[in-house]
Subunit: 205 residues, 4 copies
């Protein structure tokens, strides 16, 4: 299976799991590093119907290259920012209910910690549940240049993080390849649901 | 696939997703505009078993025409009111848990705003998360003439809305065609679940 | 499809929907009225694996008759009590999370009302959302004779109800046939989840 | 189907139900008792993709034996401790949202009781809902020798229990064979969700 087929399959699976409803979500994978070539979802597609022909190839400036045609995802610049900052091989943006509401709830603190959970060990490089994972939250914006700049800053100021949220706009995570990035989605979605529900239990104490 | 096949398929899919349990929900699509002909679900059917032969054709007064036979959905007049008021090409009424409880919770204010969510951009014509979407709530009634009149008023008083709730009775949304209307269901259901769960988190502050 | 096949299929479907996990739940359908013969699930089966050969035939005293062999469901006497009291053609006992917790929460009042919900119209004979449906709750017991007697009393004292709960033990509903009884499960499960979640929203007021 | 096939199938099913996301969860079944041989999942696998070749055979010291190769689950010593302490034939470790948050919520009391639920009768040897099931919670650790020792103590101090939680790390349960152990997972997950949601309803009183 090539990158386009894997991205399309991932899209359909994530849609079924409620993580990329409507036309939300976008996915990319590095095809070559030098010069940078990314396989990325086209803009405004129903992810439940995603097919390999909906995956475009872009260069490091976000322009469509090669034999593919169409308009790449509006959030292309964020994918490129993450790939360049972290040498990531794949970037996945999902948009679940739990990431949406936690990104709003914790906006005032600019993020929140997830710590003490065994499931954190599913994140690359984490060896113990005693890990403290900071989840930064960026303010949402329709200005992609400025949101990409915010992304670069957040990645620089928070070395070692595995994902971040955009306010009321879901989650970004990544990995050295698509398999690792997809595992990070599953791990982080589990953790977000867990801390979200845990918090709703608090008042009974 | 013709309208009947698509409406039947949509019904079975929405049933699986918990949006039209029992015999709840009804769906229509414009077949011709002048004279108005609507393909619409027959009354009192299990949507999980919906087949093309369960779709009737009606005229602008709600009478069955053409080769189909049966009793059209009890809420036929609402579909016609929406099609006529907005030139919509398809109308979908779903009945999820979240639309049901929010329609009750916010009844006192006659509706509520959803704003600041990126997912709002999945609604036709919305270009930014800074959009403020008003979700009007109508009091429920078994008198379909009066409920259709309420619907026409609500649509006139709230230009640009993408859907409304009926108290403890679910949601109506629409689109220029079935694809757009189905996307609106998915988007609005996501948003209703998000604002519902977000609200349940509030007391921890 | 005969009764055994339909009951087995229903069991597997309800298991998938989380309504009869483990060996919980039991189902019956009237095969003949005079003398009374019921097709009923055997005791202690995994409903996710239910097959037609797991369905027994019993008489009005709960004894296995005909060519089937095995031990009928422990709750056989409740099924017979409901069939005899209401002339029901099918009885379904499910055991969902929402029926379990609401049966505990409202035990002190002996039951609770569900009213004002459009979905109530999915219950046989209900024509308007203005219907007030009383959901009695019986104290749980391992003494099936006494629980059957409690059931008969509850049905007599509450004419017109469509189901009842047993404390921390799930729901019983019925219908003139399996199709109607299965619809009642779907309707009541929706309503229980709706009133349960609605209640959890209350403190924000 | 042999043990490896059944363990692999169970893994894929549990993944679909959200009980072993990412690489969480591990499963074992006794192949022979004297000398002890366990079929057990290899370390760090995506349970949604589990295949028979991912199942290793180990001896009573946790070393891989026979024709299989690989690194057994990091929690192998816990499986051996449970098999030896209770003569269990199968051990299943799942990692659901509800077990994770309840293991945190009740850590201060070292565990919690589940009582009065009919569903408890799905646990081996329980004959009445009046049963009181203690769910011990162990503090999480990456030191498997010490966690295995804690497990042996907990099993000795709490005879008759059917499972335990590890803080923010999910649940362990077991059975005389895989069928019974898998039923215990389903029963305990239901009960954990029920007591968790029940608790979130409390403040309305």
């Amino acid at each position: 299976m090539n990158e386009s087929e894997r991205l399309a399959e991932l899209g359909r699976e994530f849609h079924k799991r409620g993580w990329v409803l409507g036309t939300s979500g976008n996915f990319s994978a590095v095809v070559s590093r030098d010069p940078l070539r990314l396989a990325i979802t086209a803009s405004s597609l129903d992810k439940g119907q995603l097919l390999p022909e909906h995956i475009l190839e872009i260069d490091g400036a976000g322009h469509v290259v090669g034999q593919t045609q169409g308009k790449p995802s509006a959030e292309t610049l964020l994918h490129i920012a993450i790939v360049n900052s972290l040498q990531a091989g794949a970037v996945l943006h999902t948009h679940s209910v739990w990431s949406t509401i936690l990104s709003d709830y914790h906006m005032g603190s600019g993020g929140f910690f997830i710590e003490g959970y065994e499931m954190l060990k599913g994140l690359e490089g984490v060896r113990t549940h005693e890990h403290r994972e900071w989840i930064p939250i960026l303010e949402n914006s329709q200005n992609m240049e400025s949101l990409a700049a915010e992304t670069r800053s957040a990645l620089q100021e928070n070395p070692g993080i595995h994902g971040f949220l955009i306010r009321r706009h879901g989650m970004y995570t990544w990995g050295k390849d698509l398999t690792e990035a997809a595992r990070h989605v599953e791990i982080l979605e589990f953790l977000l649901e867990s801390v979200g529900r845990r918090q709703m239990m608090e008042p009974q104490h």
